[in-house]
């Protein structure tokens, strides 16, 4: 018997019992929608975290001076926008001097590719007449670019000579450039005025990097007003600073160095230095382990919810089977008539399995749409770009078909095996 005829027949059957069909599908809809929603939110969360972490450098190790007994991995004075307000302030001698960092670097020169130090100056505004751009000024060294995976579009980054000579140069974002310069202008070599609370400083632009929105910059500012990093030589930033020493620095390892092992070595090195300090110690963490612990946590949550969705699908499948059994009983006479007119057992079987599969697929499709909507809504609520996974959609559709066949088989078989004489006599 014609397959499309079976599909049309099943659809006509569903149209005749819309409410019943919808209620039957509900279990499937909820199951599939939750799977899709969770996977969508989970994926976007995962992607955002991983990419943000990787922006900060997956092969970076961060050394952070923290209060003893504070095991959190929070980084003081980390990337712009993430400075934590320390409750206790370390004294100058608790922090790391340039010499300390120098000693460390030469001690591990075989494993260290770069050292990145930075000093946050604060938010300010670049202005030129009516044109402006919000910036977050940071003093950095030449290792900062590599440690933070900045993509330089044109010009150069802050160099060692800039730092030594305390030059008034700056590396700015392409966002700032588009805010403040016309397309035809070459901003390299141009001077830019930075206004902060009590001073105006003028810098020469030497390089432009590509601005990447960060997971951590959850500012609600409009696109134009977003703060972007404005990098100046660290020595210049330290001129007005109360402290000349550093609370944190980032190590970029050479390729082939085992970050986990090296992290432990660094921990031992600083533990010896801080052994006599009663209040402060050096916390060492690498990005790789942070990423993997975060993603594994997300995976656990996803699996837990997938199990719940699976149970919902199972219940939905049983609902489909139940309603198919009702349908077979209701249509006993029809089955008898079809058999009298020459339908073979297989024809009847296929008719009912197609009907059950159609119920499940329609339920699945509604579930996918609902799940994507929920997922995108959830992701936008969390502020991450949503990523729909095509593979999970394909899996969902196949899964619903499978449920349709599996739970439709028993009722369909029951229908196929009906004795035509008794079925015709059924009232």
């Amino acid at each position: 018997m014609n397959f499309t005829e079976n599909i049309l027949l099943a659809l006509a059957g569903l149209r005749a019992n819309k409410m019943r069909a919808l209620l039957t599908m509900l279990g499937i809809i909820i199951g599939i929608a939750s799977v899709i929603a969770i996977v969508t939110v989970g994926n976007s969360l995962n992607a955002s975290i991983t990419s943000s972490m990787e922006d900060m450098g997956a092969n970076s190790i961060i050394v952070n001076i923290r209060e003893k007994g504070d095991d959190s991995d929070e980084i003081g004075g980390g990337p712009p926008g993430m400075q934590t307000t320390a409750v206790a302030k370390p004294d100058e001698e608790d922090l790391l001097s340039e010499d300390d960092i120098e000693t460390f670097t030469s001690r591990f020169s075989d494993k260290v590719a770069n050292i990145s130090i930075s000093h946050g100056v604060g938010s300010a505004k670049a202005q030129d007449g009516r044109l402006y751009a919000n910036v977050s000024v940071s003093g950095v060294n030449n290792g900062y670019e590599k440690a933070n995976n900045l993509e330089l579009l044109t010009g150069r980054f802050i160099t060692e000579r800039d730092i030594k000579s305390v030059r008034k140069v700056a590396v700015v974002s392409d966002k700032l450039v588009s805010n403040m310069f016309s397309n035809r202008e070459n901003p390299l070599g141009k001077e830019i005025k930075i206004y902060d609370a009590d001073s105006i400083e003028t810098y020469t632009i030497v390089g432009i990097y590509k601005y990447e929105p960060s997971l951590f910059s959850t500012s609600s500012a409009s696109e134009k007003d977003i703060d972007t990093g404005f990098y100046i030589p660290v020595t210049l930033a330290k001129l007005d600073a109360t402290t000349k020493n550093y609370q944190t620095f980032t190590i970029v390892t050479k390729t082939g160095v085992d970050a986990t092992l090296f992290t432990r070595e660094i921990e031992d090195y600083f533990a010896k230095i801080y052994i006599n300090n009663t209040k402060w110690e050096a916390g060492v963490m690498n990005m790789e382990s942070t990423i993997s612990s975060l993603t594994s946590m997300l995976d656990t949550v996803s699996i837990a919810i997938a199990v719940i969705a699976g149970i919902s699908l199972l219940v939905g499948g049983i609902g489909v089977m139940n309603i198919m059994l009702v349908s077979v009983t209701e249509r006993t006479r029809e089955i008898g008539t079809r058999k009298a007119l020459g339908a073979k057992n297989l024809n009847i079987m296929i008719q009912f399995i197609v009907e059950s599969v159609i119920i499940c697929i329609i339920g699945g499709l509604i579930g996918i749409v609902l799940g994507l909507l929920l997922g995108f809504f959830g992701a936008s609520l969390l502020g991450y770009p949503a990523t729909a996974s095509p593979s999970i959609i394909v899996i969902s559709v196949s899964l619903t078909m499978l449920i349709g066949v599996f739970f439709g088989y028993y009722p369909a078989n029951k229908a196929a095996k009906l004795n035509p004489i008794e079925a015709l006599r059924y009232e």
Partner: protein, 247 residues
């Protein structure tokens, strides 16, 4: 003289209602029907009419005995082969019409052709012709519950004719109709029998209807009580004409 369409020999049908009891419904029953005949089988309830119809309709196999329909031995067939026989050789007309409620008249008539594997176009064309034959061309797209009893039975007759069956098996086809509509249905059977030469077996307990057929077979207690050729039966060619539009 004429070709044999259906030959039933020593047919026995037993039902086991728990050993050692068994119920013998048909007892060594023999019946021959010629091609193009219009016969009626009458009998009181419990006479074995329904059981005989089930066997003749290839819905059931006899316990013993032979049943040859249009040259094919039915008693030896598998379920799937019986399905094929029902599909191609037998046209059923039921007392309560048994139309598929969600299908239009047209789709109902197409159904046996669907199982026989005709293409969509062939099915559609032939179903339209058949509905036209029974005067239902204006109501082709109506659902069964939008049709009167007589109209439903006309659709059912079209459906029974759709695969050009060897026999039409009509089980109390006028039982659910008023006498006027019933008469109209009977006239339709005559028309089909005359114009298309289809063999028709009418199963009824209504002697008045049986009087209209060529031969009356009376059943009692699973045996044939009498077989009478109807002296009043005549072919009225004037009334039915020679409309051979389907052949």
């Amino acid at each position: 003289m004429s070709e044999i369409m259906m030959d039933v020999r020593n047919l026995v049908k037993k039902f086991y209602i728990g050993s050692p009891n068994e119920l013998k419904i048909l007892k060594e029953l023999s019946l021959t029907v010629n091609k193009g005949e219009f016969i009626s089988i009458v009998g009181a309830s419990g006479s074995g009419k329904s059981t005989l119809m089930n066997v003749i309709g290839a819905l059931d196999r006899p316990t013993t005995g032979e049943y040859i329909l249009d040259g094919a031995p039915i008693q030896e067939m598998s379920d799937n082969e019986l399905s094929d026989i029902r599909n191609r050789k037998i046209g059923f007309v039921f007392q309560n019409f048994n139309l598929i409620p969600r299908n239009s008249a047209l789709k109902n008539v197409e159904l046996p052709m669907l199982y026989a594997g005709y293409s969509r176009k062939e099915r559609r064309e032939r179903a339209e012709q058949l509905l036209e034959l029974v005067g239902m061309q204006d109501r082709m797209h109506h659902l069964p519950n939008e049709l009167s009893g007589g109209q439903k039975q006309r659709v059912a007759i079209s459906r029974a004719l759709s695969n050009e069956p060897a026999i039409i098996l009509a089980d109390e086809p006028t039982g659910a109709l008023d006498s006027e509509t019933g008469q109209m249905v009977m006239e339709l059977f005559h028309k089909v029998n005359q114009t298309k030469g289809t063999t028709i077996i009418l199963i009824t307990h209504n002697h008045e209807l049986a009087e209209e057929t060529q031969r009356i077979v009376t059943l009692k207690d699973g045996r044939i009580l009498s077989e009478v050729s109807n002296p009043n039966y005549q072919i009225d060619n004037r009334k039915w004409g020679n409309t051979n539009e389907l052949y």
